[in-house]
Symmetry: C2
Amino acid sequence: MLDIQSHHTDPDYSCAYVTLTIQTGLEGHGLTFTLGRGTEIVVQAIRTLSTLVVGQVLTDIYKDFGTFWRSLTSESQLRWIGPEKGVTHLATAAIINALWDLWGKLLKKPVWQLLADLEPEQLVSCIDFRYLTNVITKDEALELLRKGKQGKEERVNKLLDVGYPCYTTQAGWLGYSNEKIRDLAQKYLDLGFTAFKLKVGKNLYDDIKRLEFVRNIIGWEKTLMVDANQVWEVQEAIDWMAQLAQFKPLWIEEPTSPDDVLGHAQISKALKPLGIGVASGEMCCNRVLFKQFLQADAIQYCQIDSARIGGVNEILSVYLMAKKLGVKVCPHAGGVGLCEMVQHLQMWDYVALSGTSEGKYIEYIDQQHEHFVNPTIVENAHYLAPRTPGYNTTFKKDAVENYEYPNGKEWQNLFEKGVFSDPRKHKS
Amino acid sequence: MLDIQSHHTDPDYSCAYVTLTIQTGLEGHGLTFTLGRGTEIVVQAIRTLSTLVVGQVLTDIYKDFGTFWRSLTSESQLRWIGPEKGVTHLATAAIINALWDLWGKLLKKPVWQLLADLEPEQLVSCIDFRYLTNVITKDEALELLRKGKQGKEERVNKLLDVGYPCYTTQAGWLGYSNEKIRDLAQKYLDLGFTAFKLKVGKNLYDDIKRLEFVRNIIGWEKTLMVDANQVWEVQEAIDWMAQLAQFKPLWIEEPTSPDDVLGHAQISKALKPLGIGVASGEMCCNRVLFKQFLQADAIQYCQIDSARIGGVNEILSVYLMAKKLGVKVCPHAGGVGLCEMVQHLQMWDYVALSGTSEGKYIEYIDQQHEHFVNPTIVENAHYLAPRTPGYNTTFKKDAVENYEYPNGKEWQNLFEKGVFSDPRKHKS
């Protein structure tokens, strides 16, 4: 892979994939993205959680989805090994996402439209407000949703017409030659992109040279973001970014630990006079952390991730808090299936909650889409609104046949070549 | 079990148990505590992490233990499914704890003494300071440790003489009859205990009655703590505790989500004028969260847990930050093996870091000790200093034979009785 990040230097893009089947034979598919090793741990967690799902009546789940969600996240014994974070929460996300895909397919609506059509009462019934009420109550959420519906039809039409704006990370990986950066930046300029994200944080001198180089290509009217992938200490982030402020980045993404609310707040405060915002969220573990990031003005760009925290239900609560506190949501995407999923959430927010896409973008990375039956479509730097039922998370049959671990054909090749050893041969 | 807590209503006290064997045949044992379901997920994570441990040279590990620790917690692909939290971090704790048990056995010292005898330079080399440096640097830690050594011998002698003070949670579970509470409170009074913790948070009227009842038995000179096990929203915690302030509790433990630094800070600020401190930490996920709890004056009693966060190495950093910021550490214990482990950490802190046990206690719960070769010994409401090498985490042979899942004898009985189904029969 070409994705050279500071902490995740050799990702083998993978996912844990859940298929829920109902009696009619209809299937819902959900996934959580992983980097390779460790997927087997998430799969074990999904197996354990599946005992709470298999055999349940689907209409009962959707009637009181928030309660069902809590039955997974607060199972009396499993809760201890979270709670609501890490492996068990990734597993929850995969299951919950499959339920939303299924719901969309049952109602024959893409998930963004399903969400936008839900009555505010039913939408809030999907959310567990536990530990959030000092920032948002159910009643406040209801009010935001009722107001959000005003002018909805017009926005739906606009969305169906032009889609939702996105930015590209494609030209910005560390380790690219100047030639490659220039070619990619030009390619995405030609495709209509107006916002570009670059990785930074390995070497200050190189960062300055690269940002200078890219600004020369894209000009000063275009938007530039930078992303440090958690590589800095708090003070280091502040000092480093002071040196990069001359290139007018819109935001610095993941300057430090994804758990450090107070650290991000300190960085935000220092960078605000320089006109630089702070973005984080792709590895934020749950709604309680998001609540604090938003409360403390620790981030000015909230990057929800569709495969982390406990799936759609919990992410809805983050959008509601961001709306209340006036923070822009700009979803993280890429990986496997993240673009396919986040587009729905951001489009729901546009048509039925925040009512605007002004100054907001979905991340776009052009990889791993070919495995999906209904992949993300980006045209003129906009995600086009999905029109097929569900959450766009169904893999093509041959993607599963080729890549399922350890039975897929590609794995057999790798085992035969000796690149990996076949785990099935080591079974006792 | 009689442990009726708000979130964990039916714990089946369990653990994931790691045995490390070196070429001489010497074994180190480490564990992380679990509540039953989900242990299999932690075990899977330990299996995955074990590939990073098996075959390593032990002297290399101890020479630069912080770097080795980071190799587990920041493995380039596994990091994604944490980082440093939940299942993978519990698994890390079990492995790391086994390494400390082994180190103690190699040097023929109990771990508290091993820690206290380490030169400050070597002790800080065990710690990963990443993301901590805005609160504590390696140099500041070194200075604290050098100062902490002054008067050490005298404190070692005192420790060997009288042990370290503890409090009891035994009389305070919800759902006990008044008679049972009275008998237990009297029993622990007679055993010399001066501090008692009660569970609260289910019903305000019941809490008032129970606290009144217990104060009448133990009197007003004794120390009383209360524990809500994360059951409240932020404002609810403040309002509820205002009603219980009349009983002069030293602290309210886990008033809300273990992830909510700002929520705890808000509660602390409101309860300070009432003379009530806030305690939390048993489910705090890592040093970065602890850092913020300490920074924000969100807790006045820091309850490290020996089986959570990434084992001894990471806990050392929490003690150092607590020392610098003047917060009292009062470890969480109970479960399986937690008393056995935390005693070492708190005794090290006493003899070689903070230099005082004034106003501090280790929790003590009198259960599950019988399974250990060298169980915790409490006399006159003090943990006696362990004198056997290692971390006191080695199970008796028959404990393993009886309780190992799914092969242990007790499990065979349960399978035969039909209480649980035998997972080995469902293997494909």
